[in-house]
């Protein structure tokens, strides 16, 4: 039997303390050059152990900035687009929207990068655009799915209580679709973060830089440095979203 709990809850924020600490720890670890140098030189004794042009912390922050920008664009475009396509007024466009975002993801990101190059030029901008197109699908698809999955009886009750269509959308449909939407955002975020490693191909920065450089000069230590850092970020990002989900939807099972 669930116990009674106070109506105003502080629990949701408490759940985010652990992720915040973990982020601080990870960034601290990235700043600890000496440790990386020693570990990498132990693994690859006859190669330059650590990428020298930029510090690891710097690369990681750049990587996060690219990821964050692309994700923000995905949210700003994807969420309204999907909500509109799920409404009666946008229903006619729903198949079109679904197909467009699906196409966005079937293109290999490297190809998108190459195609985007003439339009956005050399630099992180092109990378952000490609990542944005690539990351749109999970958010749009999950938002459509989440809204479609709101139980019919709840919708009927909402209308019967006297919610206007817009009030119903804001106060009932979106909150109920939220967990599904959030897991789409989570998938997009991790996808973008991992894919952002190709950004250096068109002059973008981030943790792809040592990887691409390492591949060019056959330095496995550089590749390993970048790859491990990306993997650590991806795992932490995924876990952060899991905590966020639990914190924001206390009404779920």
């Amino acid at each position: 039997m669930p116990r009674a709990r106070p109506l105003e809850q502080s629990a949701p924020l408490n759940r985010l303390i652990a992720p915040a600490l973990a982020w601080a720890l990870l960034l601290g670890l990235f700043a600890y050059d000496d440790l990386w140098r020693r570990a990498l030189s132990a693994l690859f004794p006859d190669q330059t152990p650590l990428f020298e042009r930029q510090t690891l912390l710097n690369l990681a922050l750049e990587h996060l900035a690219i990821t964050g920008t692309a994700l923000l664009a995905v949210l700003l475009v994807g969420l309204p687009l999907a909500v509109w396509a799920a409404r009666p007024s946008g229903a006619a466009f729903r198949p079109l929207v679904e197909n467009l975002v699906a196409v966005g993801q079937t293109f290999p990101p490297v190809a998108v990068l190459a195609l985007a190059l003439p339009f956005v030029g050399f630099g992180s901008g092109g990378a952000v655009l490609a990542l944005f197109l690539y990351g749109l699908l999970p958010v749009v698809r999950n938002t459509l799915e989440g809204l479609a999955a709101v139980p019919q009886d709840v919708l009927e009750a909402a209308s019967g209580m006297g919610y206007s269509p817009l009030q119903r959308l804001w106060r009932v449909e979106i909150p109920l679709a939220f967990p599904v939407v959030l897991s789409g955002v989570r998938a997009s975020a991790v996808l973008i973060l991992a894919t952002a490693t190709v950004a250096p191909l068109i002059g973008g920065g981030g943790l792809g830089v040592p990887i691409v450089a390492g591949l060019a000069v056959s330095n496995l230590a550089f590749v390993t440095e970048g790859a491990i850092a990306v993997a650590l970020l991806a795992v932490l990002l995924d876990w952060t979203f899991a905590r966020l989900e639990a914190a924001l939807t206390p009404w779920r099972v």
Partner: protein, 312 residues
């Protein structure tokens, strides 16, 4: 209070309602009864305009509902459905506060009101207010649904098989509580069920429907005593006698004891049907009747029950 005037609802070529005219007096419980698909839900939803009639007019308090803003109309009408439809992301208290909030009541007023309603439907606010719907039993959820419908004190209550999704003992308890609540509140209630027994128990008048038409519209006693059409007779079936007993108060049937005290007893406030069930269970010919303090005040005999049940 509610008046249907020749209401027709067509879906393509199919007529779900074929000209229903009906008047529901203020403060009465009118039960829409009939087989599945006969149009009960459709008729009910024309009142709050979840369904617009193809022809005909629905009046609420003398006003054509088409002339009212649908959202405002709905906020003034309590609505309970079988699947309950509580909002899963809101606590019990928030669920009950929905309509007051839509009506713009201030926080303290709507919260006080919601707590009062929870208490009224038998849910202790201290225990239940902060729970989410998934943490409720079926019967508790149904009570919250009723509290939510009553929260803004609407004059009219629409209930679509509100007790259909709970087990029989819970249903009976909910029915009893509803009757008690209604005795105090005197709402105008339009109540849909396909359960004859429930209809007989709750209704001031029963509207028996078939194929989108009204077959008979009468108080339960009259419907049971005097079925107007073959359909009504069939629908009521052999349980007529028993059902009539459930409308007759025990009070008028009590006789003094002669000789020994019968083993079984029923309270004086019960209906004749309860005494009849007790007789059948005990296999005796009379049952003791007790007052509120549990003291025997007399007895009811099987013969008496059989006589009143078959009286025309």
């Amino acid at each position: 209070m509610i008046r249907f005037e020749n209401v027709v609802k067509r879906y393509g070529g199919f007529e779900a309602l074929r000209g229903v005219s009906l008047e529901v007096a203020a403060g009465q419980v009118v039960v829409l009864l009939g087989p599945s698909g006969c149009g009960k839900t459709t008729l009910l939803r024309t009142v709050n305009r979840l369904i617009e009639p193809t022809e005909g007019t629905v009046y609420l308090g003398g006003q054509d509902v088409r002339l009212l803003n649908p959202e405002e109309l709905r906020r003034g009408i309590g609505y309970v459905i079988q699947s309950i439809g509580l909002f899963p992301h809101m606590s019990v208290l928030e669920n009950v506060m929905v309509v007051p909030r839509l009506l713009g009541w201030e926080r303290s007023r709507r919260e006080a009101r919601a707590r009062e309603m929870l208490t009224r439907v038998g849910l202790e606010p201290a225990t239940f207010a902060a729970r989410y719907p998934r943490e409720l039993s079926g019967g508790q959820a149904q009570r919250v649904g009723l509290a939510r419908a009553l929260a803004a004190d609407p004059a009219v209550l629409l209930m679509d098989e509100p007790f259909g999704a709970v087990d029989p003992p819970t249903r009976e308890r909910l029915q009893d509580e509803f009757l008690k609540l209604q005795a105090g509140l005197r709402k105008t209630v339009l109540f849909v069920t396909h359960d004859l027994e429930e209809a007989v128990k709750l209704a001031d008048r029963i509207c028996l429907m078939n194929h989108g038409q009204v077959e008979q519209y009468d108080p339960p006693e009259a419907l049971l005593r005097d079925p107007k059409t073959p359909f009504v007779r069939d629908f009521i079936g052999p349980s007529r006698t028993l059902l009539r007993l459930s409308r007759i108060p025990l009070e008028g049937l009590v006789e003094p004891f002669n000789g020994k005290l019968p083993a079984a007893s029923v309270p004086l406030s019960a209906m004749a049907r309860e005494a009849f069930s007790a007789l059948l269970a005990q296999g005796t010919r009379s049952v003791a009747v007790t007052d509120a303090q549990g003291r025997p005040v007399g007895q009811v005999r099987l013969e008496t029950l059989l006589r009143v049940a078959s009286e025309e």
